[in-house]
Symmetry: C2
Amino acid sequence: MNQVKKPDEFEIISRFFAPLAENAPGAFGLTDDGAVLSPEKGADIVVTTDKLVAGVHFPIDESPDLIASRLLAVNLSDLAAMGAKPWAYTLSIALPENWDIQWLDSFVGGLAGAQEAFSISLVGGDTVATPGPLTVCLTALGHIQKGQELRRSGAEQGDDIYVSGTIGDAALGLKVQKGEIPGLSEKHSTALLARFHQPIPRVQLGGRLWGLAHGVIDISDGLVADLSHICRASKCDATIDIAQVPFSEPARAAFDLDGALKETAITGGDDYELLFTAPPSSAEDIGDLSKELRLALTLIGGIGEMAGDAGSVKVVGESGKELTLIRDGYRHF
Amino acid sequence: MNQVKKPDEFEIISRFFAPLAENAPGAFGLTDDGAVLSPEKGADIVVTTDKLVAGVHFPIDESPDLIASRLLAVNLSDLAAMGAKPWAYTLSIALPENWDIQWLDSFVGGLAGAQEAFSISLVGGDTVATPGPLTVCLTALGHIQKGQELRRSGAEQGDDIYVSGTIGDAALGLKVQKGEIPGLSEKHSTALLARFHQPIPRVQLGGRLWGLAHGVIDISDGLVADLSHICRASKCDATIDIAQVPFSEPARAAFDLDGALKETAITGGDDYELLFTAPPSSAEDIGDLSKELRLALTLIGGIGEMAGDAGSVKVVGESGKELTLIRDGYRHF
């Protein structure tokens, strides 16, 4: 236990959080009632918010820098899915009674690293005490050229379906953390864990999809669940071919140990890759973009009939037969 | 206990929260990854955020509509203190395991009423489960003409110090709720309780202070504490005369029962009145504004010497002697 007198609310702000707002003059060093921001001329702003609770969204003893960078990444992924450029964020933190200075130092360090990587700055926040678990809430603001936001609802019949990167690593990483993939090599385990702990929001990709893609979403609830969000919003059906879904080498090694993990991979959440639909005429440009960004963009299926509100997702297995999935993704309740 | 199957995350959003976003087309019915907002031409935006935890900031069994309207009011008060016009807000809510539909209905009803009163709309949110107490986090956005934000740091030597409304009612209301003012009439108790439960953010006043006031803050931590924030930000000393501080009739009735409650009134938090400093030349305009808004604006003291970083607040009691206060305001740790 830490016996040193803990800093109060105002000391916490000035010592830990104000340095994160140094590059935002309108944040006034977090000493005023709010921050003032000047939007880029002619730009719209995009707003998104996410909350993480210790013991629900990450283990209670998770490393604080990972919690922080992950919280920022999750919100930046939402901005990326809208095609927006990161601009500023506010942070609310409810600290449990046993917090200590070391914890907060590490948490702030994680934010600082993620801020720098994605050119975004803290502009406001609130620090309170809670008798419950640590709860952090982040609201991110982004910029976008007026009218150029990417939406879930734009998918059209005949569109190809693409995903960035590889799918399922984060869900498998969570299983590694829980000790549920015994026998997997340390190298592969570490790689999967890192994908769970340190998601990379596809900000650059999101900023380039306007004009190429029709419907866009980030994969947070799982490949199948998020594609079904696209289907519902666009009122269409979709089919994906599991043989085309890009899996990493560590994921394939896990499947070799337990074939059922492939379902975990396509239904598990937290990848924070982008899923998008695009007309076949965009194929060449998408190939060029993939090379330029050095990021795999893989065609995994297509948009079928335009349907009613309950557009559905069909998953075709390696045998060519449709798979019946036990669960289609992560839900909070 | 509610035995009906509870709605899941997506049903909660569509059933309870999406109707609150109906007037904001860029919120897309809360079905997308973020909201798109078009700032007014030439306007800056003001951002502020606040978090409330059940059992810390309000009693666990507090009426949900009061929690909701209070959360919105607290954030709008911060916008008012910056001189900004309410625009849009996001809401994150962590629901404890025992939540029920009735609770959420009432909570949403409280938000709907406050939204309408202040012409602001929900544009995004996040709903998660928590093993801890209910935790709600709100981020509010406001508009302001470029360069016209009110700041804590503008107070100048020779300024008069004003407060809106009456002071201390909320802190006394909290004491009423805890049963700590026995003997107070029901009428006075009810009036004080209402001021604690339903703070009125001074949005109209905040929008009119540009050009009249120098330093502005909202009284959330307590009159003395918030004035000391002005002093620190403006590097000045301040003196207030307790005989000039405007107290309500119910507050005076409480003082008659227990004289020590006057200290509670000037150091307790949660009034959400505005405190501002203004040059004596603004006095007539401030009087006119008070009449126009039908809101008392009372001169309670003055800004003295410009000082170092630790500008201090002197409180002169009715006897003319300086008071020594036991505590200067509410802190979260």
